[in-house]
Symmetry: C2
Subunit: 377 residues, 2 copies
């Protein structure tokens, strides 16, 4: 893995970089569409290529349960399995174990949990999660972390933070003992925790940075805390994160969240919002979001976002998509998902261009003023 810092904004901490992974280059800031179970929901792989998705995310927890590592290994890894030739990042499953599964028992060794699908019992450790990600063959692997709830007591948060740090160390030690299975290199990012407690967040960051990982994720945020608290944590982390390594804010977020995080030095993002909202008929435009299920679009023959250059806006009207959603045609979900993913890709791509041209801050303010106005509701 290589990360080249190409530009830093003059007025903010925003950065433009180039991440070189086994399956190709990723220009940052970057939005990674979420393909949890080896598919970006309702979007075809060729459509992801077409809209220039540079890297997608998949999830270790989900893929470990289904199809499982045997199938992925026999397929020759996730890239071949799903026919995606560009980079893939996999989350470790830590977050999912704590948000989806039942009957978790956390110990020093790891976490026992019951599958949310069939109740079967499983055990994740920092070591076996690395091995699972070897079977998956993701370009970027993530360490196993514990994700405490955002309202956890300080005492718990402290213990949890220490555990995540010890787990990261074990992950790094184990990484060196394993090899990639498919003939290309994989890299490993650490995940900082500490909730919204500044001291703990800084401690987590410092200790993980000492271990010298190839990249750093800021984890345990966007779990219900106010956005301002999240921004404070990014700001608090900033001085302690190495400039020459990529920074990834996990599970974030709205266009506003993303731009505010870019401004604070974050390079990488993933979020289910574009596809989840798309399946609900909510679409993003440069002047806010629209709920295309609403009757007001029945005779609105304009594109979702007039002048926006993507396949959906160039070919279909709000009225047509509203009809599809209204009669529950799958194509309605497809078009909304496609549009939204392409909108989020456009957002980070444009942010990058503005950083490179030295106009990020002005553009961001302008975009948000227009976006927040949300004339449509």
């Amino acid at each position: 893995m290589k990360f080249e810092l190409q530009a830093t904004d003059t007025r903010t901490c925003a950065r433009a970089g180039k991440l070189t992974l086994a399956h190709g280059e990723v220009l940052t800031p970057v939005f990674m569409p979420v393909g949890t179970r080896a598919s970006v929901k309702a979007v075809e792989q060729r459509e992801l290529y077409e809209m220039n998705a540079q890297i997608i995310l998949a999830n270790t927890y989900h893929l470990y349960l289904r199809p499982n590592t045997e199938t992925l290994y026999k397929a020759g890894g996730l890239h071949k399995f799903m026919n995606w030739s560009r980079p893939i990042l996999t989350d470790s499953g830590g977050y999912q174990v704590f948000s989806l599964s039942e009957l978790r028992q956390i110990s020093e060794e790891g976490v026992v949990f019951k599958s949310h699908i069939d109740g079967s019992k499983h055990f994740f450790t920092p070591e076996n999660v690395i091995e699972t990600q070897r079977f998956i063959g993701s370009d970027v692997m993530m360490v196993l972390d514990e994700c405490p709830p955002h309202d956890a007591e300080l005492d718990y948060l402290k213990k949890s933070n220490d555990l995540t740090i010890r787990w990261a160390e074990r992950a790094k030690v184990h990484l060196a003992k394993t090899k990639p299975l498919y003939g290309y290199e994989q890299t490993l990012f650490a995940i900082t925790q500490g909730g919204t407690n500044e001291a703990l967040r800084i401690e987590s960051t410092k200790r993980l940075v000492e271990m010298d990982f190839e990249g750093y994720a800021i984890g345990g945020l966007a779990v219900g805390e106010p956005a301002e608290a999240m921004y404070r944590m990014i700001e608090a982390s900033h001085p302690y994160l190495p400039q020459h390594k990529p920074r990834y804010l996990m599970g974030v977020g709205t266009p506003e969240n993303i731009l505010n995080a870019i401004e604070r030095g974050v390079d990488m993002f993933d979020c289910v919002m574009p596809t989840r909202e798309g399946r609900n008929g909510r679409v993003y435009t440069r002047t806010g979001t629209l709920n295309l299920r609403a009757a007001r679009y029945t005779h609105d023959f304009r594109p979702i976002d007039e002048g926006f250059e993507n396949y959906v806006c160039q070919n279909f009207s709000r009225a047509y998509i509203r009809h599809l959603l209204n009669v529950n045609e799958i194509l309605g979900l497809q078009l909304c998902s496609l549009h939204n993913v392409s909108f989020f890709l456009w957002l980070t791509k444009t942010a990058r261009e503005k950083i490179l041209s030295g106009t990020f801050n002005d553009w961001k303010e302008e975009f948000l003023a227009s976006f927040r106005a949300d004339k449509h509701a």
Copy 2:
């Protein structure tokens, strides 16, 4: 409308033709993917172009209810509404009134029915169904017919047959009084009825042919009767249908049904099977169908049909699609639907090529022997 008979098979009644409609040429035999509610389920319009769908079908009953004629008129017709530039054929809604709606009251004048969506009351007449299809702007309109159940009593069948014939006459008279709304010509096909009663079927055919429609559909079949009875009806109709006009067997059918009907002189087909089966994970191959939900495909990394030249077979494995279906990813339905529609298009396209090269009969026997063997189940 123009129909040119390009070739007739030497050993069977199979025909190859060229139908010229307002939105383009249609080479027959042709399979028309079904886009009931202005979308071929789970397939994008650009994908239909890509797989060379020449004409699609939509439904007057469904479009009349949702989005409704006002929306379609304001959109400039169905082609513009759904962004489809090739021909469209619309069924009249007769079949849907009799199969989907509740509380039907048939009179000489027309049929009163309650919407299957909200129970609202509506009235279809031979005249207003033409007008609705003017609003839709389909290249080929169909007359309103009554579709009796396949086990109807002879007496009822006879009365119903006469009614459908009188309705066809009224439709033709009314057609002349109306004009296309969007600046291009629309044509009108009649629909023969008579169930599986040969005498009634022949009477229906003769009387409708006397009225000189531009094309003829064989209706009221594929509604539960044995396939042999359907084939007999096609054979009985054959001598009475004009050679130089297109023949359309409505709602048919399996690959075997389609080839047997082509052999008996049918030019046009539509069926929901490829998309409906696709959404259930059943896919078509040249050696039978596969139920891709089955566990046996977990580690089957072959394409759906080895050597079949379409996007799905060239890019994805049975194991991957099986996984998608297993975890309920929309992409699973998309890929199965895409594959199946492309398979049916390939089937009629190949039948046409074989008719033109004088080898239809041999190819058909060979294909069916292989297809029926159904090694996969």
